[in-house]
């Protein structure tokens, strides 16, 4: 047994146990009780909480928006970050500055960016984007006061934040592609389009798998951005599952139901992410 490995893993195992495994098992335990968050006097009620969450349309609606948000941002960030990475990987004047600019879009906390974008998307005539529209004699847009526009805004800001960061990830992989592959393809008469399709893209499959995994797993549990940008509204149009868990568990003093929702969501995410990883492995094998 390699004791150094064991000792090096020990700190992170302690952190994982304390901050992830214990709360997860506590949540599973509370999900089977009527714990209200205040009193230690609670009862075991079996699967009653699980029955409740599957019969509430509002919870299902928040699940729907969360899935739309996670899938849309995963697809669009990937589609936009790939060509951006290829472009930023080329040699041109100001390349380092351009790379830094795109990377730093995603550095500030989501909550801060949500508050800033909230000002930009103000639905008033005096809102910044509405003022810009008025310069072109266009009517004001009800950015955050209309269900569909609000959903668009949340997804747009998430993409805006994520593209630069994931492009940087792709750049790191791009730089690891052996140059001789391109040289050999030139000898064979390949054009740049063919090089991208038959060399760059297959070589980037591991990067795409990593990037989409990070986006999907991060955005399924999104909370800060929609909370600060729209507060989950108008109505419940931009409410996410994590908001529902907090609202139901803490806001309604029903920790049991909130915990049940959290447990179901954790396992749903696990299934989704495993499916995504499985699909990525299949694609990787196809190109390897």
């Amino acid at each position: 047994m390699n004791w150094a490995t064991v000792w090096f893993l020990l700190p992170i195992m302690v952190v994982f146990t304390l901050l992830t495994a214990v709360p997860l098992f506590q949540s599973i335990y509370y999900s089977l009780t009527d714990f209200n968050g205040y009193s230690d006097d609670f009862n075991f009620i079996g699967l009653e909480n699980y029955q409740k969450i599957f019969s509430e349309p509002q919870l299902l609606q928040s699940l729907g928006f969360t899935l739309v948000f996670a899938i849309t941002t995963t697809v669009l960030i990937t589609v936009l970050a790939l060509p951006l990475a290829v472009t930023l990987n080329k040699v041109f004047w100001g390349r380092s500055l351009a790379r830094s600019l795109f990377f730093f879009l995603g550095v500030p906390a989501q909550a801060i960016l949500g508050l800033i974008w909230r000002q930009l998307f103000s639905p008033l005539k005096s809102g910044i984007f509405n003022r810009l529209l008025s310069l072109f004699s266009m009517p004001p847009v009800p950015w955050l006061s209309n269900d569909h526009w609000a959903q668009f805004c949340v997804i747009f800001v998430a993409i805006w934040m994520g593209v630069g960061w994931h492009a940087t990830l792709y750049i790191a992989y791009l730089q690891a592609i052996p140059e001789d592959l391109y040289e050999q393809s030139l000898v064979d008469g390949a054009n740049s389009h063919q090089q991208f399709l038959h060399i760059t893209l297959p070589q980037l499959v591991p990067a795409i798998a990593t990037s989409t995994f990070l986006i999907m797993s991060g955005n399924l549990k999104v909370y800060d951005l929609p909370y600060t940008l729209t507060g989950g509204g108008p109505g419940t149009s931009t409410t996410t599952v994590t908001q529902s868990i907090i609202l139901r568990g803490v806001g309604q003093s029903q920790y049991g139901v909130g915990s049940a929702l959290a447990v179901v969501f954790t396992f749903a995410c696990l299934v989704l992410v495993l499916a995504q990883m499985g699909a990525a492995n299949l694609v990787q094998r196809r190109f390897s």
Binding site: F8, R118, L124, S145, G233, P234, V250
Partner: protein, 416 residues
């Protein structure tokens, strides 16, 4: 061998580096200086509590008050609940309309009925913080929310002040709108202040005593008690165009900014914004919300969140916490607190001198009990969120008042 030795040292150093900050998270709540340390989690911002704490600590050098706070009802209620559920109940905390029933019924607050500092506040202000004849929290000040209006913009529309009747208000809104001015705005992320005032006026006009409590106790429903007032509110504010649909996407700061820019003629506010309004040089006034047909104009208002002591305290810490509340409710404490918070004293120990423009609102409405506010006795955050979501639906024309109250009845059942 040497490599193995170095690896072992590196591992031990890594673990030690990790362990130090973890260990720092725990620790005793008492200082080593021999002082009794009490922990306060305050609803009120640091700038409000700091002068009070400093004055208290000066008078009581053997006690140290460690204070933290959260901004906003929801954050405060959620954090306090999380701390209570995690056995980290602060020694002193606040009971608000949103958490009072849960905290009192679950025994998290100490019974302070017989404490002298409670006797300085009139019984009617203590009612919200009492259960089964026992007092669990002491409020020391009150707040009002009303219509702040730009006198110059109203004058251009031919008005000196805000009409107190619904029809007059609708006419004013239409005149302002025709001049390209947004008539009225309020924070779209909170329960509508204009609706709650209309509800208070409706209850008074219909002689419905404690209409909201009747709903909470199961004697009535939202459909029965709220629908007429909600329909009246929709007619006066939504159908007339006084409150535009954009309001549902606005925060308090955006609403205030629009008023300060001169784009909006009226908005819901209170003493907390007077400094900013004065700084912007706006010629302003305060007015009550228009009356429900056959009723009286009403404002929003309530006693401010009350101060409570943890039921788990005992010995020196309990005595220190009681001392703090005694000081807070003394003349000096109330003066420092109300001046910092911009509210008005409801303690018999001290009479506040509010801004001249809002003084009449306190005098004519608050102290005459012509105010109303909605505080749900169960699942307050979830119920408030439901009201906000549904009122946004009414504002956008997606749901009717009757459907909104029907949904609220369903939600109320689910939080029981």
């Amino acid at each position: 061998m040497r490599s193995h030795y170095l690896k072992t040292v590196a591992v031990i150093a890594s673990i030690a580096a990790l362990a130090v900050p973890i260990a720092a998270c725990g620790g005793s709540s008492d200082t080593s200086s021999g002082k009794t340390k009490i922990v306060m989690y305050s609803y009120y911002a640091e700038k409000v509590m700091k002068p009070v704490i400093e004055a208290f600590e000066k008078k009581n050098p053997d006690i140290e008050v460690s204070s933290s706070s959260s901004s906003g009802d929801t954050d405060y209620t959620n954090t306090l609940q999380t701390r209570i559920s995690g056995n980290q109940t602060p020694d002193i905390f606040n009971l608000s309309g949103n958490n009072r029933v849960d905290v009192m019924t679950n025994g998290a607050a100490a019974d302070i009925t017989n404490e002298n500092f409670v006797k300085e506040v009139q019984q009617n202000y203590l009612d919200d913080y009492s259960l089964n004849g026992k007092v669990f929290g002491v409020p020391i000040s009150g707040w009002v929310g009303a219509i702040v209006y730009n006198k110059d913009l109203l004058k251009k529309a031919g008005y000196d002040s805000v009409p107190s009747d619904a029809q007059g208000f609708i006419e004013l809104a239409k005149k302002l709108e025709s001049q390209g001015i947004t008539p009225y705005l309020e924070n779209g992320q909170e329960m509508s202040g204009s609706f709650i005032a209309t509800l208070g006026s409706y209850y008074a006009a219909q002689k419905i005593d404690d209409g909201d409590r009747a709903i909470y106790s199961g004697k009535s429903t939202f459909s029965k008690n709220w629908t007429p007032a909600l329909e009246a509110w929709k007619q006066v504010y939504v159908d007339s165009g006084a409150l535009p649909q954009e309001a549902s996407g606005l925060t308090n700061d955006q609403v205030k900014q629009s008023f300060l820019n001169g784009e909006t003629a009226m908005y819901r506010s209170g003493a907390w914004d007077i400094g900013d309004i004065k700084q912007a040089g706006i010629n302003y006034g305060f007015a009550a919300y228009p009356a429900y047909s056959g009723g009286q104009p009403y404002v929003n208002g309530d006693p401010d969140p009350a101060f409570s002591i943890s039921a788990k305290l005992s010995g020196e810490k309990k005595r220190a916490a009681e001392k703090f509340l005694s000081f807070l409710t003394s003349k000096e404490g109330v003066k420092l607190f109300t001046e910092g918070y911009g509210s008005v004293s409801i303690s018999q120990n001290y009479e506040s001198d509010p801004d001249e423009h809002i003084a009449s609102i306190f005098k004519d409405y608050f102290f005459k009990n012509q105010y109303h506010w909605v505080s749900f006795e169960k699942g307050s955050n979830a119920m408030s969120a439901e009201v906000v979501a549904k009122q946004q639906g009414v504002l956008s024309g997606q749901i009717s008042p009757a459907n909104m109250t029907k949904d609220l009845d369903s939600k109320w059942k689910s939080v029981q």
